[in-house]
C-alpha cells in the first residue's frame, strides 16, 4: 500500500529534523509509543500500541533510520508484529524549508500488513495509517512549535 | 476464572449456570444447554446460522454474550415444533424443498418466524429482505421463499 502525504510543521528545518530523528522526541510523537530504545546504528527497538476503532494491538518491532542526509532527507524503516498480524513499512522523508520557521515534510513510501489485520482490516488500514501519520505530525508540530516559542 | 450466574428460560425450560463472561450465547446454547440445533457458520455476524429468538427478537447468538441473556426468554429451533407437530414454517421448508444440506436451515426458519410475526402475508421481495441476514449456499433461496409463502398461507388459515 502506497503512503504519500505532505505535512507542514511550524518550525525551521533543523529543528524538525531533530524532532524526526531523535529517539526521545520521536517516542513522544509516535501515537501509542510505549517504548523506543536505541540499539545503535540508527536502529531502535519499539513497543507501540496502535488502536483504531477498538482494534488495538501492541506491536513489538524495530524502527530504523537510513540514508540520513541531514537536514533534508532520510528513510524510515518500520517492522512490527503482534498477535493480530504484522506490519512492515519503508518511507522516504523529505524536508523542505517552505518559509522561515516553516518546513514542508513529504512522505513517500510503502506499507505492507499481514495476518488477520490484512484479512479483515483491509478497508481501514490505509485510513488508519493516514490518521496515525496525521496524529504524529500534529504532535511534532506541537512540540517543534513549542520549542521555537521557548 | 471469574464467572457470573445467569438464569434463562429456553424453549420453556429454566436454566441456571455459572458462565465465563466471554462465553458466547451460541456456545451456551450448544455446549451448556445441549441444544445443538443452533449452528455456527461465521465469525462476523453475517451468516445467521446461529439465529435464535431472545425476548421476542431474532438475534445472532454468536454476537451476544451469554451474560447479556441473563433473565431472557429464548426460543431456539428445537422449541418450534409443538407436541410432535412441525411448526408451519418447518412444514413449509419440508413441503417446498427449502433446504438441502440443512446447516443454515434452523437459523433460516427462526428468522422466517420473526418475519411472519411482523408481517403475516409478505410479498416475495419482503421475504427476501427479511431473510437477508441468513446465508444459504445450497438452494439459491427460491425454494426458501416458496417455503415461507407456504407457511404464511397456512398460518393465515
Amino acid at each position: 500500500m502506497q503512503i504519500k502525504s505532505d505535512h507542514t510543521v511550524s518550525a525551521n528545518r533543523e529543528r524538525v529534523w531533530e524532532h524526526l530523528t531523535d529517539a526521545e522526541l520521536l517516542s513522544q510523537c509516535i501515537p501509542g509509543c510505549e517504548e523506543l530504545k536505541a540499539t545503535g546504528g540508527g536502529t531502535y527497538e519499539a513497543t507501540i500500541k496502535v488502536g483504531v476503532a477498538g482494534i488495538k494491538g501492541t506491536y513489538k518491532g524495530t524502527v530504523r533510520l537510513e540514508n540520513m542526509q541531514p537536514p533534508s532527507a532520510y528513510r524510515l524503516m518500520v517492522e512490527g508484529k503482534s498477535t493480530i498480524g504484522f506490519l512492515k513499512g519503508a518511507c522516504d522523508f523529505r524536508l523542505e524549508e517552505a518559509k522561515p520557521d516553516e518546513t514542508k515534510v513529504g512522505l513517500n513510501g510503502e506499507l505492507a500488513v499481514g495476518g488477520k489485520l490484512a484479512r479483515v482490516g483491509q478497508r481501514i488500514i490505509g485510513s488508519a495509517a493516514k490518521m496515525t501519520i496525521g496524529q504524529f505530525f500534529k504532535q511534532i508540530n506541537k512540540l517543534a512549535a513549542t520549542d521555537t516559542d521557548s | 476464572m471469574a464467572t457470573t450466574q445467569i438464569n434463562t428460560t429456553i424453549n420453556g425450560e429454566d436454566y441456571t449456570h455459572e458462565v465465563e463472561p466471554r462465553l458466547l450465547l451460541v456456545h451456551y446454547l450448544r455446549e451448556v444447554a445441549g441444544l445443538t440445533g443452533t449452528h455456527v457458520g461465521c465469525e462476523t455476524s453475517l451468516c445467521g446460522a446461529c439465529t435464535a429468538i431472545v425476548d421476542g427478537q431474532a438475534v445472532k447468538t454468536c454476537t451476544m454474550l451469554a451474560v447479556q441473556a441473563d433473565g431472557a426468554d429464548i426460543t431456539t429451533i428445537e422449541g418450534l415444533a409443538q407436541d410432535g407437530e412441525l411448526h408451519p414454517i418447518q412444514e413449509g421448508f419440508w413441503e417446498r424443498h427449502g433446504l438441502q444440506c440443512g446447516f443454515c436451515t434452523p437459523g433460516m426458519i427462526v428468522a422466517a418466524h420473526q418475519l411472519l410475526e411482523r408481517n403475516p402475508s409478505p410479498t416475495e421481495e419482503e421475504i427476501r429482505h427479511g431473510l437477508e441476514g441468513n446465508f444459504c449456499r445450497c438452494t439459491g433461496y427460491q425454494h426458501i421463499v416458496d417455503a415461507v409463502q407456504y407457511a404464511a398461507e397456512k398460518m393465515q388459515g
Binding site: 490484512a118 484479512r119 | 429482505h129 445450497c138
Partner: protein, 778 residues
C-alpha cells in the same frame, strides 16, 4: 425374470425429502454436534506469511497454560504423519512434499504450523496467542503471468521453476485454419479465484481405542472412503481398523472432496493422546485454508468464417495450483482443457495448459471444477465472434452445434460426448423468453438511453465422474441392497450426499423396482463401517454412478426374490409382478405372497428353491463406460445503470438436459443452487490477495456470497435426452447451473454495454468494474 408392474410411481415424481424432518427441527448431528466423553479440543496456529523460513517456534508459554494438554509442531510429527497426498496422475507432474504441519518453510498464508490440544476450546484458542514464531520472510510469487517468467522467485528450489506441469494438445490443422480464417478474435480471460464457503465449516473428531486398535474419525467430508484409506496410509494404521463417518455434512461444493492436514493431525493426536480430539474450523480459517476454486488466466484465439463457422481454437491456459497440491488440484484445469469446444463442433484445437505454483492456498474442485472455466472461454469467444461478424449470438450457436444424430460424438480434445440435442434445449430457452421480441424491446429501450442486455450461454459439461480410467482414485461406485428378515430394505451406498437428497431419490429407485412403500426403505451412507466400499459424492456422479450401482444391485436381489416367490407360488419367475408390497402372477393379484413373506422365507431358509442360498443381499460395483455430458441453454436479461455500474438482473431462464430425472424437486433445487453460485462468481465473489500474498478478502465482510435479495427467481425448464452410459439414463445436474450461468451473465452485461464499445468485462462484475469498463471504452 420378473417384470416391473405398470408405470413408475415414484421415479420422476417430486417426492419431498425424507432427510428433512430431522433437519428442520435442528435434531440432526453435524460433526460439531457430536460430543464424546473426555473430548479434547484442537486449534491450529497458522502462518501470517505467504512465504518465509521458520527460524524458531517457541511453544513453552502455550504448554504452560492451564488446560493445555499438548502442543505439537511440524518437527514433532515428522515420520509419524505422512505427506498430504495428491491423487493426480499427469505426465511430468511435479508433486512437492506437503507436510501436515509446516517444518522449515511456509508457502501460503494460513498454512498450519502448530496444533494445540486443550481440555476446553476457549483455552485452546488462548494458547495460540502464546506461541512465538520467528520467520525469515522470502519474496512471494502471487501473479500467474509473473510466476512463469524465467526471473521469477521459485517456490520449490528442487523444481527449478514454478511450472507444475504442462499439457499440450494439437488436434487437426490449427495453423491452416487460422491462415484461412475470415476473422480471428482474441481475448484474455481471468477466471477469478473463488472461496467455496459451505455454510458448515469443516470439522474433524477422532477417537482411538487402544485396546481394539480402532480409529474412528468423524469428518465433514464428501469422500469418507478415500479419507479412510488415506488416513490409514498417513498414520500407518491397518485400514481395516480405521472407520470414517461423514455424519450430517453441511454442504461441500467440492471443498470437502479432499484430505486435509487437519484431518491427519487430529487423527494422529487422538492416537497419541488416547483421548477423543475435535477440531472445528473457524470461518476465518476456512477462508485461508479450505481449498479455493478457479483461478485461471486464459489467452484465447478463435478462427471463424464469414458464415459464422468456427474453424479453430487456440489457447494458452494458465492454471493456479497454489502452493501445494491438494487431492485433485492439477486435475481441475484438465477438465477445462477437455471441455474447451463446449457445445460446438470444432475440429482444429491447439492448447497449452500450464499448471503454476504460487504462494496462495491450493485450488481444487469447486462446483463446476474446470468446466465453468471452459464454458466461460468458449461462450465468451462465441459472443465475441458474433459481435465481430455482426451476427446474432443465437445464429452463430445454431451454426456450430453438432446434429442430434451425430452422437456419440468424438471431440478434438479426445472425449466422446454421449448424447445430445443442443438445438432442442436452446430452442426451448429462446421460446421461453420470446427472444425475437426481446431484441425489439432492447432496441426500443436503447433509443431511450436504457441499457438492456440479453445474455445467452449454451453449454455441454462432463459429469458422472467415472470411468476409472478418467478419475484419480477410481471412478466406479458401489451400492448394496439388503432386504431384512422383516421385509424392510436397507440401502447402503458409497456416495456421500451432503445436501443432494439421495436418502430420498435412491429410495424412490428401490421402491419402484420392488413395488413397495418408500417408508420401508432406509438409505445409509457416509459410514465406512457400514458401507465398506465407495468413492464419494462429487462431479455430479452420485446418481449417474452410485444410482446405477444401486439399480443393478436392486435388480440382482429382486431376481433372487422372484425365484423364492415363484417357488412359494408355484409359478413361473417370468410371470411375476412386484406391486403394492405383494408379489403375484400377472393378472392374479388375489393369490399373492407379500414382499415381507418372501423376505422372511429367504431368511428362515426352510422353504427355498433348490440351489438358492439364504439371505437377500447384493452389492454391485458399477463402472460406467463413459462420462456423461449434460447440456443446456441459459438466458439472462439484465439492465445496467451506466451511471453507477449497478446491474439489475431481471430474468434468468435455465433449460437443462440432465437425462432422465428421478426427482424433479431435487433437480430444480440443484439447478437453483448452481445458478446462484455461478451468479456469485459473475457478480459478487472473488478472492483478492495483495502483492505479498496476504488474503484481503478473509471474511464475509469482504467476500460476498449471494444473499436472498441478491438473486432473482429462476425459471427452470428441462429437456430429456437420456444417457446411454448407465442403466438409469441419468446424466447428473449438481453443477450445471454453475457452469452455464457465469458466462451467461457476462454475455448479458457485455451485450447491454455494447453501445459504449465494451467488449469484455472481468468477473466479478462489481458496480465499480462495470462503471470502469464504460469509462475505459469511451
Amino acid at each position: 425374470m420378473a417384470t416391473m408392474a405398470g408405470p413408475s410411481r415414484l421415479i420422476g415424481a417430486p417426492i419431498k425429502r425424507r432427510e428433512d424432518p430431522r433437519l428442520v427441527q435442528g435434531l440432526s448431528h453435524y460433526v460439531d454436534d457430536i460430543k464424546l466423553v473426555n473430548m479434547h479440543h484442537c486449534t491450529f496456529l497458522r502462518s501470517d506469511y505467504a512465504h518465509a523460513d521458520i527460524k524458531s517456534i517457541d511453544t513453552e508459554a502455550a504448554e504452560n497454560l492451564s488446560g493445555v494438554v499438548k502442543v505439537i509442531t511440524g518437527v514433532d510429527i515428522q515420520g509419524k504423519v505422512g505427506s498430504i497426498p495428491c491423487a493426480a496422475e499427469i505426465e511430468g507432474l511435479k508433486v512437492p512434499d506437503h507436510p501436515a504441519l509446516a517444518v522449515d518453510r511456509v508457502r501460503f498464508v494460513g498454512e498450519p504450523i502448530a496444533a494445540v490440544v486443550a481440555t476446553d476450546p476457549y483455552v485452546a484458542r488462548d494458547a495460540l496467542d502464546l506461541i512465538e514464531v520467528e520467520y525469515d520472510e522470502l519474496p512471494t510469487v502471487v501473479d500467474l503471468d509473473d510466476a512463469i517468467e524465467s526471473d521469477s522467485t521459485v517456490i520449490y528450489d528442487e523444481f527449478g521453476d514454478n511450472i507444475a506441469f504442462t499439457m499440450p494438445l494439437d488436434a487437426g490443422d490449427v495453423d491452416a485454419a487460422f491462415a484461412e480464417a475470415d476473422h480471428v478474435v482474441s481475448q484474455r480471460f481471468v477466471n477469478q479465484r473463488l472461496i467455496p464457503n459451505s455454510i458448515e465449516p469443516r470439522g474433524v473428531l477422532a477417537e482411538y481405542l487402544p485396546g481394539e486398535g480402532t480409529l474412528t474419525v468423524w469428518s465433514s467430508t464428501q469422500v469418507p472412503h478415500h479419507l479412510k484409506t488415506i488416513l490409514s496410509l498417513l498414520l500407518d494404521l491397518p485400514e481395516q481398523l480405521v472407520r470414517v463417518i461423514a455424519p450430517e455434512v453441511g454442504g461441500g461444493f467440492g471443498s470437502k472432496l479432499n484430505v486435509y492436514p487437519e484431518e491427519a493431525v487430529v487423527a494422529y493426536l487422538a492416537t497419541e493422546l488416547r483421548k477423543p480430539v475435535k477440531w472445528i474450523e473457524k470461518r476465518s480459517e476456512g477462508f485461508t485454508t479450505t481449498i479455493h476454486g478457479r483461478d485461471q488466466v486464459d489467452y484465447v484465439d478463435m478462427a471463424v468464417k464469414n458464415d459464422g463457422t468456427i474453424t479453430a481454437l487456440r489457447a494458452k491456459l494458465l492454471a493456479n495450483m497454489g502452493a501445494y497440491h491438494q487431492l485433485l488440484t492439477p486435475i481441475i484445469p484438465v477438465l477445462t482443457y477437455l471441455m474447451m469446444p463446449g457445445a460446438y463442433k470444432i475440429s482444429n484445437i491447439k492448447l497449452e495448459l500450464i499448471g503454476v505454483f504460487t504462494n496462495k492456498m491450493a485450488t481444487d474442485a469447486y462446483r463446476g471444477a474446470g468446466r465453468p472455466e471452459a464454458t466461460h472461454i468458449i461462450e465468451r469467444m462465441v459472443d465475441l465472434a458474433a459481435q465481430k461478424l455482426g451476427m446474432d449470438p443465437k445464429e452463430i450457436r445454431f451454426k456450430n452445434f453438432p446434429q442430434p444424430d451425430e452422437f456419440p460424438l468424438e471431440m478434438a480434445t479426445g472425449v466422446t460426448y454421449d448424447s445430445g440435442n443442443y438445438q432442442m434445449s436452446f430452442n426451448k430457452a429462446l421460446d421461453t423468453v420470446d427472444y425475437a421480441n426481446l431484441r425489439t424491446r432492447q432496441a426500443e429501450l436503447r433509443s431511450q438511453g436504457r441499457y438492456l442486455g440479453i445474455g445467452v450461454a449454451t453449454y455441454a459439461e462432463i459429469c458422472g465422474m467415472g470411468p476409472s480410467v478418467g478419475v484419480a482414485g477410481g471412478g466406479w461406485e458401489s451400492s448394496t441392497v439388503r432386504i431384512e428378515r422383516t421385509g424392510k430394505v436397507t440401502v447402503l451406498t458409497g456416495v456421500s450426499p451432503h445436501g443432494q437428497g439421495q436418502e430420498t431419490s435412491f429410495a424412490q429407485i428401490v421402491a419402484d423396482e420392488y413395488g413397495i412403500s418408500i417408508d420401508d426403505i432406509v438409505v445409509i451412507h457416509g459410514d465406512t463401517g457400514r458401507q465398506p466400499q465407495g468413492i464419494g459424492t462429487f462431479g455430479s456422479r452420485a446418481t449417474a454412478v452410485g444410482g446405477a450401482a444401486l439399480i443393478i444391485a436392486t435388480q440382482q436381489v429382486k431376481e433372487k426374490m422372484a425365484q423364492i416367490a415363484a417357488h412359494m407360488l408355484e409359478a413361473n419367475v417370468d410371470d411375476l409382478v412386484f406391486e403394492d408390497g405383494n408379489i403375484f402372477v400377472q393378472g392374479s393379484p388375489d393369490s399373492a405372497v407379500t414382499f415381507a413373506d418372501v423376505a422372511a422365507t429367504a431368511h428362515v431358509a426352510v422353504n427355498l428353491p433348490p440351489d438358492v442360498e439364504p439371505g437377500l443381499e447384493a452389492t454391485h460395483f458399477f463402472e460406467p463406460s463413459n462420462f456423461t455430458y449434460p447440456f443446456g441453454a441459459h438466458i439472462s436479461i439484465v439492465e445496467v445503470d451506466p451511471e453507477t455500474g449497478e446491474i439489475d438482473l431481471q430474468r434468468y431462464v435455465a433449460v437443462d438436459d440432465c437425462g432422465n430425472i428421478i426427482n424433479p424437486l431435487l433437480v430444480d433445487g440443484q439447478v437453483h443452487g448452481g445458478i446462484a453460485q455461478g451468479l456469485g462468481q459473475a457478480m459478487y465473489e472473488g478472492a483478492v490477495y495483495d502483492e505479498n500474498g496476504q488474503l484481503l478478502t478473509g471474511s464475509f465482510m469482504d467476500y460476498a456470497i449471494p444473499k436472498a435479495t441478491q438473486v432473482p427467481r429462476f425459471e427452470t425448464e428441462h429437456t430429456t435426452t437420456p444417457s446411454p452410459v448407465n442403466p438409469l439414463g441419468v446424466k447428473g445436474v449438481g453443477e450445471a447451473g454453475t457452469i452455464a450461468s457465469s458466462p451467461c451473465l457476462v454475455n448479458a452485461v457485455v451485450d447491454a454495454l455494447s453501445p459504449f464499445g465494451v467488449t469484455d468485462i472481468d468477473m466479478p462484475m462489481t458496480p465499480n468494474r462495470v462503471w470502469q469498463a464504460i469509462q475505459d471504452a469511451q
